[in-house]
Each structure stands twice: as structure tokens, then as C-alpha cells.
């Protein structure tokens, strides 16, 4: 498929990007508000075109472990879910990180805790970047703010996942998942040939040829000294990501007296609030996080030095704000504004919060 202009939901964009980016397999379980991902894949029947395998698993626990099994053979394997399902996957995610298996997981967040609501939320920030499972590990975490980014980030995810042998999380929410916007699709990237798979994933378990020792994919190491060395290696990998793979967008920050920090759909609402503030003559900028891990610590700190206050806007009780305060070493007045439980704040509310909590 060549580059085309379409109107499509974020969830559908994820599915189509998986096909277009040469993904080998998808394993999932239905949950609102992301079921369109698997529905689109099943309707598109990519097994007849690209050869991509799509399977509805018996649970999210099975899905993530199917991702483990398939991805450990050196193939591009993905899953998607929403918050409660992602909670079920946490065990699998720490195993994937511990076994250094590249893969893609998409979380289209909804409100919690517990079964919560099916409406959009951003309350899985801690779970995503502070280690939802056990052990010292990180997921490279991308936060799309548009349908186009939902699509594009799938392609980016595969590059990062295989470059670092690390799971990648696309952290979206019900608003972007359900929203339809303009989308430019890309030319299809062919699935890897057998030779490419072997070259790109020499560690994969696809059947040991006589020419190499057997490959083992495991996260088990009973020798504590060696496990410490392995952990240090992981930390070095995460440090390299922090150095090289940070992504963010700074809008109107050059002359800003105040900035709003936000990601995903909150950043869209914040953008509108910023425009409304500028119309009133208040110099507001927007610092949008694109990677949540690695967090753009240095970049935010540099901008924060020049402003009088920061409003963090997220659909949670205040999670991302902790990393904002760490980045700025609490050097500037920083407040949180958020709605949660599935309520989306309005641009007017954000502006009001900015005026009342920061500017006053």
C-alpha cells in the first residue's frame, strides 16, 4: 500500500501500522476502549497478504506470554490492551525486559483503579515508567498525541525495540484511540525474510543450526553476582536511551512566562488552553512529552529555568508531576491539574487552573 490520506480512529491506525510496518504477529484479548485494534486486524486478514499471524488469546496473561514466545524467536510481535489488561500483563513485561526481548505493547488507557471506567484516563503513568512489574527494568515508552502519531510510533517502536533489545510501550488513552483524524499512511515495509530475521536477531530461538551453540531465552540467573552484572548492563542500556532517544515537543516556550507540561490527549487540550491564554495576552508555552521513558529531564530543566511557573496537566491524580519536579529539582513553582476516573478536562478548565494555581 502506498502513502494515502485517510480518516481513521487511533486504534485502527495502530492495527494498520502493525501490518504496514512488517509486524510478524499480534496476540490480543478484547477490552474497551481498544478492541478495534484486533477487530481491524481480523477484518484485514493480513495472514493472506503479508503473512502476519493474528490470534485472539484466552486472556491478557496468555497474550503477553504469546508475545514472549513469538518475539523470542526474533520476530516482530505485538499486543495491545487497556489498563486492567495491561495490569495482567505486568508479569510478562518484566520477563520480557529481563530476557531482553524486543516487542511492542500498546496501552489505550482507561480510568481506574480496579475495573474503573471505560473512558479515557492517564493514570497508568507510574505503572508504565516506574516499573509495573518487579525488578529494575524500563520500557521505552512513547506517548502519541494524535492518530498520525499512533501510526508512526509503531514504526519507530520496531527500530528502538530491536536496536536496544527492549520492549517498547505505546502509552495512549481512550480519547486518541477512539478519535478519528486525518492520517497519512506509509508504504508497506516488507516483513523480514528469514535471512533478515537471523541477521537482526542472532539471539533468537528458531532452531539451532550446527554452526552455533543453542540460544537460550531466559530471565533466570541463580548466581547473584552474575545477576548484578546483568542488571548493570540493563542500566547501561537505559542510560544510553536517556542520552540518545529522548523525544519531546516544545511549543511557544521561547518567550513563555509559564509552561504547561503534558503528554498524549492532555497535551492537545493543553495546546488549546495555551492558545486561549495567548489570546488573553498571557505568554504560555507547551512542553509536550513524547517519550515518558526516557524522560526529557535536561530539556525540561533548561526551559524551566526561564519561566515563572509550570502547570502539569494529566488525566490522573498527579503522577507525571513527580518526574517534572525531579527534572527541575523543584526550582520553580509547579502544580498539578487533572481530572480523573474517565473525565477529560476542558481547555477552559486548564486555563482556569493555570490562572488560579500558577499565575495568581
Amino acid at each position: 500500500m502506498a502513502r494515502e490520506l485517510k480518516l481513521m480512529k487511533g486504534n485502527e491506525a495502530i492495527a494498520r501500522a502493525m501490518i504496514a510496518s512488517g509486524t510478524d504477529g499480534y496476540f490480543g484479548y478484547p477490552i474497551t476502549p481498544q478492541s478495534e485494534v484486533m477487530e481491524t486486524l481480523m477484518a484485514e486478514k493480513p495472514w493472506e497478504t503479508t503473512g502476519m499471524v493474528v490470534l485472539q488469546a484466552e486472556s491478557e496473561v496468555a497474550s503477553i506470554n504469546m508475545v514472549y514466545g513469538g518475539a523470542a524467536t526474533g520476530k516482530k510481535v505485538a499486543t495491545s490492551s487497556s489498563s486492567p489488561g495491561i495490569s495482567l500483563m505486568q508479569e510478562g513485561l518484566t520477563y520480557l525486559a529481563g530476557a531482553e526481548i524486543p516487542c511492542l505493547v500498546v496501552n489505550v488507557m482507561r480510568g481506574g483503579p480496579g475495573l474503573g471506567t471505560i473512558q479515557p484516563s492517564q493514570s497508568d503513568y507510574f505503572q508504565s515508567v516506574k516499573g509495573g512489574g518487579h525488578g529494575d527494568y524500563q520500557l521505552y515508552t512513547l506517548a502519541p498525541a494524535s492518530v498520525q502519531e499512533m501510526y508512526d510510533f509503531v514504526f519507530d517502536a520496531w527500530d528502538i525495540a530491536f536496536k536496544y533489545r527492549n520492549p517498547v510501550l505505546i502509552l495512549s488513552d481512550g480519547a486518541i484511540g477512539q478519535c478519528m483524524e486525518k492520517l497519512y499512511t506509509r508504504d508497506n515495509v516488507a516483513r523480514w525474510t528469514e535471512e533478515e530475521r537471523r541477521a537482526n536477531a542472532p539471539w533468537g530461538t528458531w532452531g539451532k543450526p550446527a554452526t552455533r551453540p543453542h540460544n537460550i531465552i531466559t530471565s533466570l540467573e541463580l548466581d547473584s553476582a552474575r545477576q548484578e552484572v546483568f542488571n548493570l548492563k540493563l542500566q547501561k542500556k537505559y542510560d544510553e536511551m536517556k542520552e540518545k532517544e529522548v523525544r519531546y515537543e516544545a511549543l511557544n516556550c521561547e518567550d513563555a512566562d509559564y509552561i504547561i507540561v503534558a503528554y498524549g490527549s492532555s497535551s492537545r487540550i493543553a495546546m488549546k488552553a495555551m492558545q486561549m491564554a495567548r489570546e488573553k495576552g498571557i505568554k504560555v508555552g507547551l512542553f509536550r512529552l513524547i517519550t515518558l521513558f526516557p524522560f526529557p529531564t535536561k530539556q525540561l530543566a533548561d526551559i524551566a529555568k526561564k519561566v515563572k511557573g509550570i502547570l502539569c496537566v494529566e488525566m490522573s491524580a498527579g503522577q507525571m508531576i513527580e518526574d517534572v519536579k525531579l527534572a527541575t529539582q523543584c526550582g520553580v513553582k509547579t502544580e498539578h491539574f487533572g481530572r480523573f476516573g474517565g473525565i477529560i478536562p476542558t481547555p477552559g478548565e486548564v486555563l482556569e487552573a493555570l490562572e488560579n494555581k500558577i499565575i495568581k
Binding site: 471505560i118 480519547a175 478519528m180 492537545r268 488549546k272 477529560i344 481547555p347
Partner: protein
């Protein structure tokens, strides 16, 4: 130009697809668009609504709470969204099933008896296009040729034979809309 629209009614009235056809037509005319539905239990027969934004500039928030136009197809939606129309904005409603008329004095109000007309003509399936025609009569934000392309992209190819019927319904709607209150 930025037009922020809410379309609201019962599930099954074609609320979401009306929004989609409008949005897709905007895409074809090289506008920026967003289509943000309510989703959840509403999808299964309750009330449904969708906000559509069509603009010449990059759209910031697809989630909005004040609208230039509200297209209202049942009483619950009228109760819920009448207050969300910006002062000076537009409210269009189908009088079918409406027991309490809108009361705002600071907005333009039009009604379109699309349900009754569609039943009369035996074209209930394209009832939503009659309503869309009424809206386009008042706010011709997308050109006719792009509506055609929007229909092509919104409908599966096997239903393209229904496009002329959809276009006729839009024309019927243009003739059907009547003014209740003009500022």
C-alpha cells in the same frame, strides 16, 4: 475557519456515521478534521454523540465543551447540549419526539423534520443525510464534490450504489430546514 460541531441523538440514528461522512468530506477538501465519539454503553442503543471539528488550521484539542453548532436528534440530547452552544452559535434539531422546545435566546435555532420526511419518502436509512443537508444549507463548509468523495471513503465499496440516494437525501434536507429563531 474552524467549525466545532456536536451531533447527538439515539444510537442507531446514524449520528456517528453522519459525523464521519462530514469529517471525511473535510479531509477530501484538505481541511484538518477530528471526530471524537462518546463511546461505551451508549454504543449499544442509548444516546450517542460525536464532536466533529473541521478547520483550516492544526486542531489542538479534539475534546471540546463549547460548540459552534449542535445538531440534536432527541430530547435527552437537547437537554444536555443546548447550553453548550456558543453564544451566537447554531442549534439544529429534529422536532420528532421533542416535548420541550429549546429556550436559548442568544443563539440561532433551526428545525428540520427529517424523521417525518424520511418516513414519508421511505428513505429512513438515509435520514441522517437529510439532517446533514439541512446543516450544509446553513453552513456550506464543505463543497458538494467533496461530500461525494467523503461518501465514497466512508461507505464500503459494496454500498457505493447507495451514494446517489444519500446525495438526494442531502438535497431534500437543504429544502426542508426551517428557521425558528434568527439573531
Amino acid at each position: 475557519m474552524t467549525e466545532e460541531i456536536i451531533i447527538a441523538g439515539f444510537g442507531g440514528q446514524g449520528v456517528l456515521s453522519m459525523g464521519k461522512i462530514l469529517a471525511y468530506s473535510g479531509v477530501m477538501q484538505d481541511k484538518e478534521v477530528s471526530w471524537m465519539p462518546s463511546y461505551g454503553p451508549e454504543m449499544r442503543g442509548g444516546t450517542a454523540n460525536v464532536s466533529v471539528i473541521i478547520s483550516d488550521e492544526r486542531i489542538s484539542s479534539p475534546i471540546i465543551n463549547q460548540f459552534d453548532t449542535a445538531i440534536i436528534l432527541n430530547q435527552q440530547s437537547l437537554d444536555k447540549f443546548e447550553a453548550s452552544v456558543k453564544p451566537g452559535g447554531l442549534l439544529i434539531y429534529d422536532p420528532n419526539g421533542i416535548t420541550h422546545e429549546p429556550t436559548r435566546k442568544d443563539i440561532n435555532i433551526y428545525k428540520i423534520a427529517a424523521t417525518a420526511k424520511a418516513q414519508e419518502l421511505g428513505i429512513s436509512k438515509v435520514f441522517n443525510m437529510v439532517v446533514l443537508g439541512g446543516f450544509l444549507k446553513l453552513k456550506p463548509i464543505v463543497d458538494k464534490q467533496y461530500i461525494h468523495e467523503g461518501l465514497e471513503h466512508s461507505l464500503p465499496q459494496r454500498h457505493w450504489n447507495l451514494i446517489p440516494q444519500n446525495e438526494e437525501a442531502i438535497e431534500i434536507g437543504k429544502g426542508l430546514i426551517e428557521c425558528v429563531q434568527k439573531l
